[in-house]
Amino acid sequence: MTHDKRKVLVVDDEPSVCEGIELVLTPAGYEVKKALTGEDAVALVEQEDFDVILMDLIMPGMDGTEACEKIKAMKPTIRVVAISGSPSGQRLDRFLRAGGIELYLYKPFGKQELLDGVEKAMRGEYIRFRNDA
Protein backbone atom coordinates (compact mmCIF):
# COMPACT_ATOMS: atom_id res chain seq x y z
CA MET A 1 0.00 0.00 0.00
CA THR A 2 1.09 3.48 -0.66
CA HIS A 3 0.58 4.88 2.81
CA ASP A 4 2.87 4.11 5.77
CA LYS A 5 0.20 3.58 8.34
CA ARG A 6 -1.71 0.36 8.03
CA LYS A 7 -5.39 1.10 7.47
CA VAL A 8 -8.18 -1.04 8.86
CA LEU A 9 -11.90 -0.61 8.33
CA VAL A 10 -14.26 -2.02 10.96
CA VAL A 11 -17.82 -2.74 9.89
CA ASP A 12 -20.33 -3.72 12.60
CA ASP A 13 -23.84 -2.66 13.48
CA GLU A 14 -22.93 -2.72 17.19
CA PRO A 15 -21.17 0.55 18.00
CA SER A 16 -19.32 -0.81 21.03
CA VAL A 17 -17.64 -3.38 18.82
CA CYS A 18 -16.36 -0.75 16.46
CA GLU A 19 -15.20 1.45 19.29
CA GLY A 20 -13.65 -1.41 21.19
CA ILE A 21 -11.66 -2.50 18.17
CA GLU A 22 -10.53 1.04 17.62
CA LEU A 23 -9.38 1.21 21.23
CA VAL A 24 -7.20 -1.81 20.66
CA LEU A 25 -5.85 -1.18 17.18
CA THR A 26 -5.04 2.51 17.34
CA PRO A 27 -2.37 2.20 20.07
CA ALA A 28 -0.95 -0.71 18.08
CA GLY A 29 -0.19 1.60 15.18
CA TYR A 30 -3.15 1.11 12.90
CA GLU A 31 -5.36 3.77 11.39
CA VAL A 32 -8.91 2.75 12.05
CA LYS A 33 -12.10 3.78 10.28
CA LYS A 34 -15.56 2.67 11.34
CA ALA A 35 -18.79 1.91 9.49
CA LEU A 36 -22.06 0.79 11.01
CA THR A 37 -23.68 -0.57 7.85
CA GLY A 38 -22.64 -2.47 4.77
CA GLU A 39 -23.67 0.41 2.54
CA ASP A 40 -21.48 2.86 4.47
CA ALA A 41 -18.59 0.44 4.21
CA VAL A 42 -18.89 0.18 0.43
CA ALA A 43 -19.06 3.95 0.15
CA LEU A 44 -15.93 4.38 2.27
CA VAL A 45 -13.97 1.80 0.28
CA GLU A 46 -14.82 3.65 -2.90
CA GLN A 47 -13.14 6.75 -1.55
CA GLU A 48 -10.25 5.31 0.45
CA ASP A 49 -7.81 2.47 0.44
CA PHE A 50 -7.67 -0.11 3.21
CA ASP A 51 -5.37 -3.04 3.95
CA VAL A 52 -7.74 -5.10 6.04
CA ILE A 53 -11.46 -4.94 6.59
CA LEU A 54 -13.03 -6.48 9.68
CA MET A 55 -16.56 -7.30 8.55
CA ASP A 56 -19.50 -8.31 10.69
CA LEU A 57 -21.47 -10.87 8.71
CA ILE A 58 -24.91 -10.36 10.18
CA MET A 59 -26.19 -6.82 9.84
CA PRO A 60 -29.54 -5.32 8.94
CA GLY A 61 -29.76 -4.11 5.37
CA MET A 62 -26.78 -5.16 3.31
CA ASP A 63 -25.09 -7.97 5.15
CA GLY A 64 -21.37 -8.62 5.41
CA THR A 65 -21.22 -11.13 2.61
CA GLU A 66 -22.90 -8.83 0.13
CA ALA A 67 -20.70 -5.92 1.16
CA CYS A 68 -17.66 -8.14 0.75
CA GLU A 69 -18.71 -9.04 -2.78
CA LYS A 70 -19.07 -5.41 -3.76
CA ILE A 71 -15.80 -4.40 -2.14
CA LYS A 72 -13.84 -7.22 -3.73
CA ALA A 73 -15.29 -6.19 -7.07
CA MET A 74 -13.94 -2.70 -6.54
CA LYS A 75 -10.62 -3.43 -4.88
CA PRO A 76 -9.72 -7.11 -5.18
CA THR A 77 -6.55 -6.99 -3.10
CA ILE A 78 -8.26 -6.03 0.13
CA ARG A 79 -8.33 -8.77 2.77
CA VAL A 80 -11.75 -9.11 4.34
CA VAL A 81 -11.89 -10.81 7.70
CA ALA A 82 -15.21 -11.98 9.12
CA ILE A 83 -16.07 -11.04 12.65
CA SER A 84 -19.20 -12.68 13.91
CA GLY A 85 -20.79 -14.45 16.81
CA SER A 86 -20.83 -18.16 15.85
CA PRO A 87 -22.10 -17.98 12.27
CA SER A 88 -23.37 -21.10 10.62
CA GLY A 89 -21.11 -23.13 8.36
CA GLN A 90 -23.29 -22.18 5.44
CA ARG A 91 -22.86 -18.52 6.11
CA LEU A 92 -19.09 -18.79 6.36
CA ASP A 93 -19.07 -20.75 3.16
CA ARG A 94 -20.89 -18.04 1.29
CA PHE A 95 -18.58 -15.44 2.76
CA LEU A 96 -15.57 -17.34 1.48
CA ARG A 97 -17.01 -17.54 -1.96
CA ALA A 98 -17.70 -13.82 -1.89
CA GLY A 99 -13.99 -13.27 -1.52
CA GLY A 100 -13.46 -13.24 2.20
CA ILE A 101 -10.32 -14.77 3.57
CA GLU A 102 -10.33 -17.88 5.63
CA LEU A 103 -9.70 -16.13 8.90
CA TYR A 104 -12.59 -15.64 11.27
CA LEU A 105 -12.75 -13.78 14.53
CA TYR A 106 -15.60 -15.10 16.62
CA LYS A 107 -17.20 -12.50 18.87
CA PRO A 108 -16.59 -11.90 21.67
CA PHE A 109 -12.82 -11.88 21.24
CA GLY A 110 -10.26 -10.26 23.46
CA LYS A 111 -7.56 -7.78 22.63
CA GLN A 112 -4.84 -10.30 21.90
CA GLU A 113 -6.99 -12.42 19.66
CA LEU A 114 -7.86 -9.32 17.69
CA LEU A 115 -4.29 -8.16 17.31
CA ASP A 116 -3.09 -11.59 16.26
CA GLY A 117 -5.85 -11.87 13.71
CA VAL A 118 -5.20 -8.51 12.13
CA GLU A 119 -1.46 -9.21 12.01
CA LYS A 120 -2.02 -12.46 10.22
CA ALA A 121 -4.39 -10.86 7.78
CA MET A 122 -1.80 -8.18 7.10
CA ARG A 123 0.81 -10.82 6.46
CA GLY A 124 -1.49 -12.57 4.09
CA GLU A 125 -2.02 -15.68 6.14
CA TYR A 126 -5.28 -17.50 5.61
CA ILE A 127 -5.61 -19.33 8.87
CA ARG A 128 -8.96 -20.48 10.05
CA PHE A 129 -9.66 -19.63 13.70
CA ARG A 130 -11.97 -22.13 15.33
CA ASN A 131 -13.68 -22.19 18.65
CA ASP A 132 -12.78 -25.11 20.84
CA ALA A 133 -16.01 -26.80 21.78
Binding site: D13, G85, S86, P108, L114, R130, N131, D132
Partner: protein, 447 residues
Protein backbone atom coordinates in the same frame (compact mmCIF):
# COMPACT_ATOMS: atom_id res chain seq x y z
CA UNK B 1 -102.20 -129.19 9.62
CA UNK B 2 -104.04 -131.66 7.44
CA UNK B 3 -101.43 -134.20 8.22
CA UNK B 4 -102.18 -133.78 11.85
CA UNK B 5 -105.83 -134.24 10.98
CA UNK B 6 -105.04 -137.44 9.15
CA UNK B 7 -102.94 -138.66 11.99
CA UNK B 8 -105.65 -137.74 14.45
CA UNK B 9 -108.27 -139.60 12.50
CA UNK B 10 -106.01 -142.56 12.15
CA UNK B 11 -105.29 -142.62 15.84
CA UNK B 12 -108.97 -142.33 16.76
CA UNK B 13 -109.90 -145.10 14.34
CA UNK B 14 -107.26 -147.28 15.89
CA UNK B 15 -108.48 -146.63 19.34
CA UNK B 16 -112.10 -147.27 18.50
CA UNK B 17 -111.56 -150.48 16.64
CA UNK B 18 -108.41 -151.88 17.99
CA UNK B 19 -109.54 -155.43 17.16
CA UNK B 20 -110.32 -154.59 13.61
CA UNK B 21 -107.01 -153.02 13.09
CA UNK B 22 -104.97 -155.67 14.76
CA UNK B 23 -106.81 -158.28 12.67
CA UNK B 24 -105.74 -156.39 9.55
CA UNK B 25 -101.94 -156.19 9.78
CA UNK B 26 -101.69 -153.96 6.79
CA UNK B 27 -103.91 -151.30 8.34
CA UNK B 28 -102.09 -151.68 11.60
CA UNK B 29 -98.75 -151.22 9.98
CA UNK B 30 -99.89 -148.27 7.91
CA UNK B 31 -101.40 -146.63 10.93
CA UNK B 32 -98.19 -147.10 12.89
CA UNK B 33 -96.14 -145.70 10.10
CA UNK B 34 -98.51 -142.83 9.71
CA UNK B 35 -98.44 -142.12 13.41
CA UNK B 36 -94.68 -142.27 13.46
CA UNK B 37 -94.37 -140.08 10.43
CA UNK B 38 -96.75 -137.52 11.89
CA UNK B 39 -94.96 -137.54 15.18
CA UNK B 40 -91.73 -137.09 13.40
CA UNK B 41 -93.19 -134.35 11.31
CA UNK B 42 -94.70 -132.53 14.27
CA UNK B 43 -91.43 -132.84 16.06
CA UNK B 44 -89.69 -131.43 13.04
CA UNK B 45 -92.08 -128.52 12.81
CA UNK B 46 -91.66 -127.85 16.44
CA UNK B 47 -87.93 -127.91 16.12
CA UNK B 48 -88.05 -125.57 13.18
CA UNK B 49 -90.26 -123.26 15.08
CA UNK B 50 -87.87 -123.27 18.00
CA UNK B 51 -85.06 -122.56 15.66
CA UNK B 52 -86.95 -119.62 14.26
CA UNK B 53 -87.68 -118.31 17.68
CA UNK B 54 -84.07 -118.64 18.72
CA UNK B 55 -82.98 -116.96 15.50
CA UNK B 56 -85.47 -114.20 15.99
CA UNK B 57 -84.33 -113.63 19.54
CA UNK B 58 -80.74 -113.72 18.35
CA UNK B 59 -81.55 -111.07 15.79
CA UNK B 60 -83.19 -108.96 18.42
CA UNK B 61 -80.21 -109.49 20.64
CA UNK B 62 -77.86 -108.38 17.90
CA UNK B 63 -79.93 -105.31 17.21
CA UNK B 64 -79.87 -104.56 20.90
CA UNK B 65 -76.14 -105.08 20.97
CA UNK B 66 -75.76 -102.71 18.04
CA UNK B 67 -77.53 -99.92 19.84
CA UNK B 68 -75.95 -100.74 23.13
CA UNK B 69 -72.45 -100.63 21.63
CA UNK B 70 -73.26 -97.34 20.05
CA UNK B 71 -74.25 -95.86 23.37
CA UNK B 72 -71.49 -97.51 25.34
CA UNK B 73 -68.81 -96.43 22.92
CA UNK B 74 -70.13 -93.01 22.15
CA UNK B 75 -67.72 -90.24 23.11
CA UNK B 76 -70.70 -88.18 24.16
CA UNK B 77 -71.95 -88.55 27.67
CA UNK B 78 -75.30 -90.30 27.67
CA UNK B 79 -77.49 -90.29 30.69
CA UNK B 80 -80.96 -91.73 31.08
CA UNK B 81 -83.14 -90.80 34.02
CA UNK B 82 -86.62 -91.74 35.11
CA UNK B 83 -89.49 -89.24 35.17
CA UNK B 84 -88.32 -87.87 38.49
CA UNK B 85 -84.79 -87.38 37.32
CA UNK B 86 -83.18 -90.31 39.08
CA UNK B 87 -80.34 -91.77 37.02
CA UNK B 88 -81.13 -95.11 35.42
CA UNK B 89 -78.16 -95.37 33.13
CA UNK B 90 -74.92 -93.60 32.28
CA UNK B 91 -72.54 -94.67 29.56
CA UNK B 92 -68.78 -95.15 30.06
CA UNK B 93 -68.10 -91.73 28.65
CA UNK B 94 -69.85 -90.30 31.68
CA UNK B 95 -67.53 -92.19 34.02
CA UNK B 96 -64.51 -91.17 31.99
CA UNK B 97 -65.34 -87.51 32.19
CA UNK B 98 -66.82 -87.17 35.67
CA UNK B 99 -64.89 -89.86 37.47
CA UNK B 100 -68.08 -91.39 38.89
CA UNK B 101 -68.85 -95.02 38.11
CA UNK B 102 -72.33 -96.14 37.08
CA UNK B 103 -72.88 -97.74 40.46
CA UNK B 104 -71.94 -94.55 42.28
CA UNK B 105 -74.61 -92.51 40.53
CA UNK B 106 -77.36 -95.03 39.93
CA UNK B 107 -80.55 -93.79 41.51
CA UNK B 108 -79.09 -90.34 42.27
CA UNK B 109 -80.22 -87.11 40.71
CA UNK B 110 -77.87 -85.31 38.26
CA UNK B 111 -77.56 -82.50 40.78
CA UNK B 112 -74.65 -84.36 42.31
CA UNK B 113 -72.61 -82.83 39.52
CA UNK B 114 -73.65 -79.31 40.45
CA UNK B 115 -70.76 -76.98 41.03
CA UNK B 116 -72.78 -74.16 42.41
CA UNK B 117 -71.36 -71.92 39.72
CA UNK B 118 -74.51 -71.90 37.64
CA UNK B 119 -77.52 -69.89 38.59
CA UNK B 120 -80.49 -71.72 40.03
CA UNK B 121 -82.90 -70.52 37.41
CA UNK B 122 -81.07 -72.51 34.73
CA UNK B 123 -82.19 -75.68 36.42
CA UNK B 124 -85.71 -74.35 36.91
CA UNK B 125 -85.91 -73.53 33.20
CA UNK B 126 -84.63 -76.96 32.33
CA UNK B 127 -87.25 -78.81 34.34
CA UNK B 128 -90.03 -76.68 33.08
CA UNK B 129 -89.05 -77.34 29.51
CA UNK B 130 -88.61 -81.06 29.64
CA UNK B 131 -91.55 -81.68 31.91
CA UNK B 132 -93.76 -80.09 29.32
CA UNK B 133 -92.29 -82.39 26.73
CA UNK B 134 -89.86 -79.97 25.08
CA UNK B 135 -86.23 -80.47 24.32
CA UNK B 136 -83.75 -78.34 26.25
CA UNK B 137 -80.25 -77.31 25.24
CA UNK B 138 -77.80 -75.48 27.41
CA UNK B 139 -74.43 -75.34 29.12
CA UNK B 140 -73.58 -76.65 32.57
CA UNK B 141 -70.63 -75.75 34.70
CA UNK B 142 -70.29 -79.01 36.61
CA UNK B 143 -67.92 -80.63 39.06
CA UNK B 144 -66.10 -83.92 38.64
CA UNK B 145 -65.65 -86.45 41.38
CA UNK B 146 -62.16 -85.08 42.07
CA UNK B 147 -63.51 -81.59 42.50
CA UNK B 148 -62.30 -80.32 39.12
CA UNK B 149 -64.75 -78.07 37.34
CA UNK B 150 -65.74 -78.62 33.74
CA UNK B 151 -68.19 -77.30 31.16
CA UNK B 152 -70.70 -79.40 29.25
CA UNK B 153 -73.12 -78.68 26.45
CA UNK B 154 -76.27 -80.74 27.03
CA UNK B 155 -79.32 -81.74 25.00
CA UNK B 156 -82.02 -83.10 27.26
CA UNK B 157 -85.15 -84.58 25.81
CA UNK B 158 -88.07 -86.67 27.01
CA UNK B 159 -88.52 -90.31 25.96
CA UNK B 160 -92.12 -91.36 25.46
CA UNK B 161 -93.90 -94.69 25.39
CA UNK B 162 -96.29 -95.76 22.67
CA UNK B 163 -99.13 -93.81 24.21
CA UNK B 164 -97.08 -90.61 24.22
CA UNK B 165 -96.57 -90.50 27.95
CA UNK B 166 -93.15 -89.39 29.16
CA UNK B 167 -91.42 -92.31 30.76
CA UNK B 168 -87.79 -91.26 30.80
CA UNK B 169 -85.43 -88.44 30.05
CA UNK B 170 -82.38 -88.67 27.82
CA UNK B 171 -79.42 -86.35 28.25
CA UNK B 172 -76.64 -86.24 25.64
CA UNK B 173 -73.75 -84.10 26.74
CA UNK B 174 -70.43 -82.90 25.33
CA UNK B 175 -67.42 -81.82 27.35
CA UNK B 176 -66.79 -78.32 26.12
CA UNK B 177 -64.32 -77.24 28.75
CA UNK B 178 -61.64 -76.53 26.18
CA UNK B 179 -63.96 -74.57 24.01
CA UNK B 180 -65.25 -72.62 26.96
CA UNK B 181 -61.73 -71.76 28.01
CA UNK B 182 -60.92 -70.56 24.52
CA UNK B 183 -64.08 -68.47 24.57
CA UNK B 184 -63.14 -66.88 27.83
CA UNK B 185 -59.61 -66.20 26.65
CA UNK B 186 -61.00 -64.61 23.53
CA UNK B 187 -63.27 -62.43 25.61
CA UNK B 188 -60.35 -61.43 27.75
CA UNK B 189 -58.26 -60.65 24.72
CA UNK B 190 -60.99 -58.65 23.15
CA UNK B 191 -61.39 -56.71 26.37
CA UNK B 192 -57.66 -56.33 26.49
CA UNK B 193 -57.71 -55.12 22.94
CA UNK B 194 -60.20 -52.47 23.85
CA UNK B 195 -58.03 -51.41 26.74
CA UNK B 196 -54.99 -51.38 24.53
CA UNK B 197 -56.72 -49.27 21.96
CA UNK B 198 -57.73 -46.86 24.68
CA UNK B 199 -54.21 -46.81 25.99
CA UNK B 200 -52.76 -46.23 22.56
CA UNK B 201 -55.18 -43.45 21.93
CA UNK B 202 -54.09 -41.84 25.16
CA UNK B 203 -50.47 -42.36 24.20
CA UNK B 204 -51.01 -40.86 20.84
CA UNK B 205 -52.74 -37.89 22.36
CA UNK B 206 -49.96 -37.51 24.86
CA UNK B 207 -47.48 -37.83 22.03
CA UNK B 208 -49.32 -35.09 20.21
CA UNK B 209 -49.08 -32.91 23.26
CA UNK B 210 -45.41 -33.75 23.60
CA UNK B 211 -44.85 -33.01 19.98
CA UNK B 212 -46.56 -29.70 20.40
CA UNK B 213 -44.39 -29.03 23.41
CA UNK B 214 -41.33 -30.10 21.50
CA UNK B 215 -42.23 -27.73 18.73
CA UNK B 216 -42.86 -25.00 21.19
CA UNK B 217 -39.50 -25.69 22.76
CA UNK B 218 -37.96 -25.73 19.35
CA UNK B 219 -39.47 -22.36 18.53
CA UNK B 220 -38.33 -21.08 21.87
CA UNK B 221 -34.93 -22.50 21.17
CA UNK B 222 -34.71 -20.67 17.90
CA UNK B 223 -35.74 -17.47 19.56
CA UNK B 224 -33.25 -18.04 22.34
CA UNK B 225 -30.60 -18.75 19.75
CA UNK B 226 -31.40 -15.50 18.05
CA UNK B 227 -31.15 -13.62 21.31
CA UNK B 228 -27.91 -15.34 22.22
CA UNK B 229 -26.49 -14.50 18.89
CA UNK B 230 -27.26 -10.87 19.29
CA UNK B 231 -25.75 -10.85 22.75
CA UNK B 232 -22.41 -11.67 21.18
CA UNK B 233 -22.02 -8.20 19.78
CA UNK B 234 -22.29 -6.00 22.85
CA UNK B 235 -20.38 -8.68 24.70
CA UNK B 236 -17.67 -8.36 22.07
CA UNK B 237 -17.56 -4.64 22.56
CA UNK B 238 -17.49 -5.11 26.32
CA UNK B 239 -14.53 -7.48 26.17
CA UNK B 240 -12.51 -5.07 24.11
CA UNK B 241 -13.34 -2.21 26.42
CA UNK B 242 -12.26 -4.17 29.43
CA UNK B 243 -9.04 -5.08 27.67
CA UNK B 244 -8.51 -1.45 26.76
CA UNK B 245 -9.17 -0.48 30.36
CA UNK B 246 -6.77 -3.08 31.66
CA UNK B 247 -4.11 -1.70 29.33
CA UNK B 248 -4.59 1.86 30.44
CA UNK B 249 -5.10 1.23 34.13
CA UNK B 250 -2.90 3.39 36.27
CA UNK B 251 -4.69 3.04 39.53
CA UNK B 252 -4.09 0.65 42.40
CA UNK B 253 -3.45 -3.03 41.62
CA UNK B 254 -6.67 -3.94 43.30
CA UNK B 255 -8.46 -2.08 40.55
CA UNK B 256 -6.68 -4.08 37.88
CA UNK B 257 -7.69 -7.27 39.69
CA UNK B 258 -11.29 -6.16 39.47
CA UNK B 259 -10.87 -5.63 35.75
CA UNK B 260 -9.46 -9.12 35.30
CA UNK B 261 -12.41 -10.46 37.23
CA UNK B 262 -14.71 -8.51 34.96
CA UNK B 263 -13.00 -9.99 31.95
CA UNK B 264 -13.51 -13.48 33.35
CA UNK B 265 -17.17 -12.76 33.76
CA UNK B 266 -17.35 -11.74 30.12
CA UNK B 267 -15.67 -14.97 29.13
CA UNK B 268 -18.18 -16.82 31.22
CA UNK B 269 -20.99 -15.07 29.43
CA UNK B 270 -19.39 -16.07 26.17
CA UNK B 271 -19.33 -19.72 27.26
CA UNK B 272 -22.97 -19.63 28.18
CA UNK B 273 -23.92 -18.14 24.86
CA UNK B 274 -21.75 -20.67 23.05
CA UNK B 275 -23.47 -23.53 24.79
CA UNK B 276 -26.92 -22.22 24.01
CA UNK B 277 -26.11 -21.63 20.38
CA UNK B 278 -24.48 -25.04 20.17
CA UNK B 279 -27.65 -26.73 21.35
CA UNK B 280 -29.89 -24.71 19.14
CA UNK B 281 -27.84 -25.85 16.25
CA UNK B 282 -28.22 -29.59 16.79
CA UNK B 283 -30.82 -29.84 14.08
CA UNK B 284 -28.75 -28.33 11.35
CA UNK B 285 -26.10 -30.95 11.67
CA UNK B 286 -24.78 -30.53 8.18
CA UNK B 287 -24.00 -26.93 8.88
CA UNK B 288 -22.61 -27.25 12.35
CA UNK B 289 -18.90 -27.43 12.59
CA UNK B 290 -17.16 -30.63 13.51
CA UNK B 291 -14.68 -29.98 16.26
CA UNK B 292 -12.47 -31.74 18.74
CA UNK B 293 -14.60 -31.54 21.85
CA UNK B 294 -13.16 -31.00 25.27
CA UNK B 295 -15.41 -32.93 27.62
CA UNK B 296 -14.38 -31.04 30.75
CA UNK B 297 -15.15 -27.74 29.08
CA UNK B 298 -18.55 -29.03 28.08
CA UNK B 299 -19.34 -30.25 31.58
CA UNK B 300 -18.23 -26.90 32.96
CA UNK B 301 -20.50 -25.06 30.59
CA UNK B 302 -23.47 -27.21 31.42
CA UNK B 303 -22.94 -26.94 35.15
CA UNK B 304 -22.59 -23.19 34.83
CA UNK B 305 -25.89 -23.01 33.04
CA UNK B 306 -27.58 -25.11 35.68
CA UNK B 307 -25.97 -23.47 38.68
CA UNK B 308 -28.90 -21.19 39.38
CA UNK B 309 -31.39 -24.06 39.29
CA UNK B 310 -29.16 -26.14 41.55
CA UNK B 311 -28.84 -23.32 44.06
CA UNK B 312 -32.60 -22.85 44.12
CA UNK B 313 -33.19 -26.51 44.82
CA UNK B 314 -30.44 -26.89 47.36
CA UNK B 315 -28.42 -29.22 45.19
CA UNK B 316 -24.73 -29.20 45.83
CA UNK B 317 -22.59 -29.84 42.80
CA UNK B 318 -19.36 -31.76 42.72
CA UNK B 319 -17.16 -32.08 39.68
CA UNK B 320 -14.22 -34.42 39.42
CA UNK B 321 -12.36 -33.93 36.21
CA UNK B 322 -9.90 -36.41 34.83
CA UNK B 323 -6.63 -35.18 33.43
CA UNK B 324 -5.31 -35.74 29.94
CA UNK B 325 -8.66 -36.56 28.55
CA UNK B 326 -8.58 -37.25 24.83
CA UNK B 327 -10.58 -34.88 22.67
CA UNK B 328 -13.72 -36.30 21.18
CA UNK B 329 -14.46 -35.51 17.55
CA UNK B 330 -18.05 -34.34 17.42
CA UNK B 331 -20.35 -31.78 15.95
CA UNK B 332 -20.63 -28.57 17.89
CA UNK B 333 -23.36 -28.91 20.47
CA UNK B 334 -24.08 -32.60 20.24
CA UNK B 335 -22.17 -33.59 23.33
CA UNK B 336 -23.43 -30.55 25.16
CA UNK B 337 -26.93 -31.83 24.46
CA UNK B 338 -26.16 -35.24 25.91
CA UNK B 339 -24.72 -33.83 29.12
CA UNK B 340 -27.46 -31.23 29.50
CA UNK B 341 -30.25 -33.77 29.09
CA UNK B 342 -28.81 -36.18 31.61
CA UNK B 343 -27.96 -33.42 34.08
CA UNK B 344 -31.50 -32.05 33.77
CA UNK B 345 -32.82 -35.49 34.48
CA UNK B 346 -30.65 -35.67 37.56
CA UNK B 347 -31.72 -32.24 38.76
CA UNK B 348 -35.37 -33.09 38.20
CA UNK B 349 -34.93 -36.15 40.40
CA UNK B 350 -33.79 -34.01 43.30
CA UNK B 351 -36.66 -31.69 43.89
CA UNK B 352 -35.79 -31.18 47.51
CA UNK B 353 -32.07 -30.93 47.16
CA UNK B 354 -29.28 -33.43 47.09
CA UNK B 355 -25.93 -33.87 45.49
CA UNK B 356 -25.06 -33.89 41.86
CA UNK B 357 -21.66 -35.26 41.01
CA UNK B 358 -20.07 -35.42 37.61
CA UNK B 359 -16.90 -37.31 36.93
CA UNK B 360 -14.87 -37.48 33.79
CA UNK B 361 -12.15 -40.00 33.23
CA UNK B 362 -10.10 -41.47 30.42
CA UNK B 363 -11.27 -44.97 29.57
CA UNK B 364 -10.59 -47.39 26.75
CA UNK B 365 -9.53 -44.94 24.04
CA UNK B 366 -12.25 -42.59 24.97
CA UNK B 367 -13.82 -40.66 27.78
CA UNK B 368 -16.29 -41.87 30.37
CA UNK B 369 -18.59 -39.38 32.02
CA UNK B 370 -20.53 -40.38 35.13
CA UNK B 371 -23.44 -38.28 36.31
CA UNK B 372 -24.75 -39.20 39.72
CA UNK B 373 -27.71 -37.85 41.62
CA UNK B 374 -29.14 -38.58 45.05
CA UNK B 375 -32.76 -38.65 43.96
CA UNK B 376 -35.21 -41.42 44.67
CA UNK B 377 -34.11 -43.57 41.80
CA UNK B 378 -35.75 -45.12 38.78
CA UNK B 379 -38.29 -47.89 39.41
CA UNK B 380 -37.27 -51.30 38.03
CA UNK B 381 -40.36 -51.45 35.84
CA UNK B 382 -39.39 -48.15 34.24
CA UNK B 383 -35.77 -49.03 33.55
CA UNK B 384 -36.52 -50.60 30.21
CA UNK B 385 -38.38 -47.56 29.04
CA UNK B 386 -36.36 -44.57 30.09
CA UNK B 387 -34.72 -44.12 26.72
CA UNK B 388 -37.99 -44.33 24.85
CA UNK B 389 -39.21 -41.15 23.24
CA UNK B 390 -42.01 -39.46 25.15
CA UNK B 391 -41.54 -41.74 28.15
CA UNK B 392 -41.77 -39.67 31.27
CA UNK B 393 -42.46 -40.42 34.89
CA UNK B 394 -43.26 -36.82 35.49
CA UNK B 395 -46.94 -36.38 34.81
CA UNK B 396 -48.40 -33.20 33.50
CA UNK B 397 -46.46 -30.71 31.53
CA UNK B 398 -43.13 -31.06 33.26
CA UNK B 399 -41.10 -33.10 30.90
CA UNK B 400 -41.48 -33.95 27.25
CA UNK B 401 -39.92 -37.34 27.81
CA UNK B 402 -37.58 -36.61 24.93
CA UNK B 403 -34.42 -35.69 26.85
CA UNK B 404 -33.01 -39.13 27.48
CA UNK B 405 -34.07 -40.51 24.14
CA UNK B 406 -32.28 -37.68 22.35
CA UNK B 407 -29.19 -38.24 24.50
CA UNK B 408 -29.31 -41.93 23.72
CA UNK B 409 -29.63 -41.27 20.02
CA UNK B 410 -26.68 -38.93 19.98
CA UNK B 411 -24.46 -41.32 21.97
CA UNK B 412 -25.45 -44.06 19.56
CA UNK B 413 -24.54 -41.93 16.60
CA UNK B 414 -21.04 -41.42 17.94
CA UNK B 415 -20.76 -45.15 18.62
CA UNK B 416 -20.59 -44.55 22.34
CA UNK B 417 -22.34 -46.38 25.14
CA UNK B 418 -24.82 -45.19 27.71
CA UNK B 419 -25.86 -47.09 30.81
CA UNK B 420 -27.83 -46.54 34.00
CA UNK B 421 -27.75 -47.87 37.50
CA UNK B 422 -30.34 -46.90 40.02
CA UNK B 423 -31.34 -47.59 43.59
CA UNK B 424 -33.73 -45.82 45.90
CA UNK B 425 -30.78 -43.73 47.05
CA UNK B 426 -29.79 -42.38 43.70
CA UNK B 427 -29.15 -42.87 40.04
CA UNK B 428 -25.98 -42.93 38.02
CA UNK B 429 -25.70 -42.48 34.28
CA UNK B 430 -22.50 -43.52 32.60
CA UNK B 431 -21.71 -42.29 29.12
CA UNK B 432 -18.69 -43.48 27.23
CA UNK B 433 -17.58 -41.79 24.04
CA UNK B 434 -14.81 -43.00 21.77
CA UNK B 435 -12.09 -40.62 20.83
CA UNK B 436 -11.46 -42.22 17.50
CA UNK B 437 -14.68 -43.96 16.62
CA UNK B 438 -13.68 -47.50 17.59
CA UNK B 439 -16.32 -49.13 19.78
CA UNK B 440 -15.30 -50.68 23.06
CA UNK B 441 -17.29 -52.17 25.95
CA UNK B 442 -18.17 -49.69 28.66
CA UNK B 443 -18.10 -50.48 32.37
CA UNK B 444 -20.23 -48.82 34.99
CA UNK B 445 -18.63 -46.30 37.31
CA UNK B 446 -17.40 -47.46 40.62
CA UNK B 447 -18.25 -45.30 43.60
Amino acid sequence: MCLIGVVAVATIALLHHPNQITREPLIAHTATVLILLSAFFIGYQFWQRQKKLILASKVVEMELLKFRAAIEQSPSIIMITDVNGAIEYVNPAFSRVTGYSFEEVRGQKPRILKSGELEANVYADLWKAIASGEEWRGEFHNKKKNGELFWELASISPIRDSSGKIIRYLAVKEDITRRKQAEMMLEEYSLNLENMVEERTLQRDSARVSLFMAEKLSAMGRMAAGIAHQLNSPLGGGMLYVDALIDRWEGPDEGREHLFRLRDLFMHMRDIIDAMLAIARVKKRSESARVQANINAIIDRVLNMSSLECRNRGICVERIFGNDLPLIPAHLGDLDQVVINIVNNAIDAMEKGGKLSITSVRANDGVRICIHDTGSGILPEHMDHIFEPFFTTRPGSKGTGLGLSIANEIVDRYQGKISVQSTAKGTEFAVWLPSDGITTESESCEG
